[in-house]
Amino acid sequence: MTTTTGNPVGEEHVSRSPLSRLQHLLHAQATIGPAVVLLIAIVVFALLSDRFLQPGNISLVLQQVAVVGTLAVGQTIVILTAGIDLSCGAIMVLTSIVMAKISAETGLPGVPALVLGFLVGTVCGLLNGLLVTRLKLPPFIVTLGTLNVFFALNLWYSHSATIRGTDMPRLLLWTGETFTIGGTRVTYGSVIMVLLVAAMAFVLKNTAWGRHVYATGDDPEASRLSGIRTARVLFSVYAAAGAVYALAAWILIGRIASASPQAGQFENLDSITAVVIGGTSLFGGRGAIVGSLIGALIVGVFRNGLALAGVDVLWQTFAVGVLIIAAVSIDQWIRKVKP
């Protein structure tokens, strides 16, 4: 029997190259990359256009980002479990139509209309969760299916007609109202988004549920053997995401001052874009909510800044595409980190 002192389990202290050190830094703090990109973008666009940093413009960017940023919170927790939610935009639109139409037609006051909206969003999320955990179908297929189902229900219920803001209780439109800080008009919808991001970031970082969300996405089998009820975690994630999309629906109504069955159809891909650019891995288990907010802001700032610089819309879209591919390449590189 050899001596047991000086256990040789891992004793290497290799000196690392600067590139490898960067890889380790990004590995430990996935949000640093997107934050640096956002800062550089803001500086560059501010130099390109005087109008970029004006209060009115900042306000505009925040308003444009609020809906996608909120959806991205739900999308992030789903993607952290190695899932994906293509139905988020459809859930949001369906929820906004139900809230708006019922209150417009029956005179239902704002608070019960909102509660109803949260119920609709959560039930839609529960359905996704049920299909993913009980039928064990891939989330991509489940949400591709429910995307169509929810969107069809939305067209059926709304008769493809837009509900005007003037027919709704004022509470539903409140998210579009503004207050002023330092000359910048801020919508309550943007504030709700920021508070939601903070709350979800807290929950993910500081509760056992948050840890289990990461662990389930990271290695479902290991999580199960560790005693985590992974099916329950997945189920709760899809349901919570549904509730978050209902919040996005409220912000959407305020943003466009109406409820349109055609609004927000492509927000599903935009929310995935925000999550991915924000440094959350599509393979699950890695990422952060704050990153997704930064991701949404990067897209918003790029589109706005390029527009102010007089760049054609098609090149804005081109730039977003390049960002997505760059973000995923960096994620792949970070994942290959060596001990």
């Binding site: 050899t2 040789p8 389990v9 004793e11 662990a215 290991a222 053997l225 985590i228 980190v337």
Partner: protein, 257 residues
């Protein structure tokens, strides 16, 4: 003779027409390392899975301290004090060492922060993790806040062993803990196995590696065709004889049994 801490009596497990366990017995004595060896398909894995609650046997009973127990999930076995180190390295790579040690049984902060906000006691868990790693002599892992995927295979295995040793109050089961490791790392993990025994915890060690088995085991349980073929003393039998019994090439000699 001392009373076994963990016993299996006549365990049967069938998968369709395949009988994985055909009335298997097992006795684990307090403070010993019992190695379980057997050819592929001898029912080692099924036996271990039954003991750690991963599968429910069709027949037979499991006794802990002489009292019949039934485990329908791994959590049941853990609650009873039986911890398992799985072959598949059941750790979540992107979480840190402390988070992995406490995965599935996180500690909450005291007071309102824990009960209402459900906040985790990060510092408490990190300190406890460091204590556990130190106690097992895994000093080289300095930082319990390090992500597990930045560790080598041996270090990851050490984390898994530390978790089992930290929470196993009755029995620690290790399924092929050295299978995926190099020579030096295997050595370190075997030392960990011995240290777990020194703490007074009995260990069931499943391994294909005969030199490892003969080095650390107090007794060797030879599994064959779904049953316990023999229990031998590694000091009084040669490795080749044990393999011969395992493969059915030799009957059990009287003096070794």
């Amino acid at each position: 003779m001392t009373e076994p801490i963990l016993q299996a009596r006549g365990l049967v497990k069938r998968y369709g027409r395949v009988t994985a366990l055909a009335g298997a017995d097992l006795d684990l004595l307090p403070g010993e390392i019992l190695a379980v060896i057997g050819d592929n398909g001898a029912g080692k894995s099924s036996l271990i899975k039954a003991l750690c609650g991963a599968v429910v046997p069709d027949e037979g009973e499991i006794l802990l301290d002489g009292i019949p127990v039934s485990f329908s999930t791994p959590v049941d076995a853990r609650t009873a004090g039986i911890e398992t180190v799985h072959q598949s390295l059941a750790v979540a790579p992107s979480l840190d060492i402390a988070a992995n040690l406490f995965l599935g049984r996180e500690l909450r902060r005291k007071g309102v922060l824990g009960s209402v906000l459900r906040m985790l006691d990060r510092n408490g868990m990190r300190e406890e993790a460091k204590k556990q790693l130190d106690a097992l002599g895994i000093m080289t892992i300095q930082n319990p806040g390090q992500a597990v995927e930045t560790l080598s295979g041996g270090q990851r295995q050490a984390v898994a062993v530390a978790r089992a040793a930290a929470f196993g109050s009755r029995v620690v089961i290790m399924d092929e803990p050295t299978a995926a490791l190099g020579v030096r790392e295997s050595r370190a993990v075997l030392d960990l196995v011995l240290q777990v025994r020194e703490r007074g915890l009995p260990v069931i060690l499943i391994s294909h590696n005969m030199p490892h088995v003969f080095e650390v085991a107090d007794r060797v349980h030879i599994q064959r065709l779904g049953r316990r073929k023999a229990v031998v003393d590694p000091k009084s039998i040669s490795m080749s004889d044990a393999v011969a019994i395992m493969t059915g090439a030799m009957e059990v000699p009287e003096e070794a049994a």
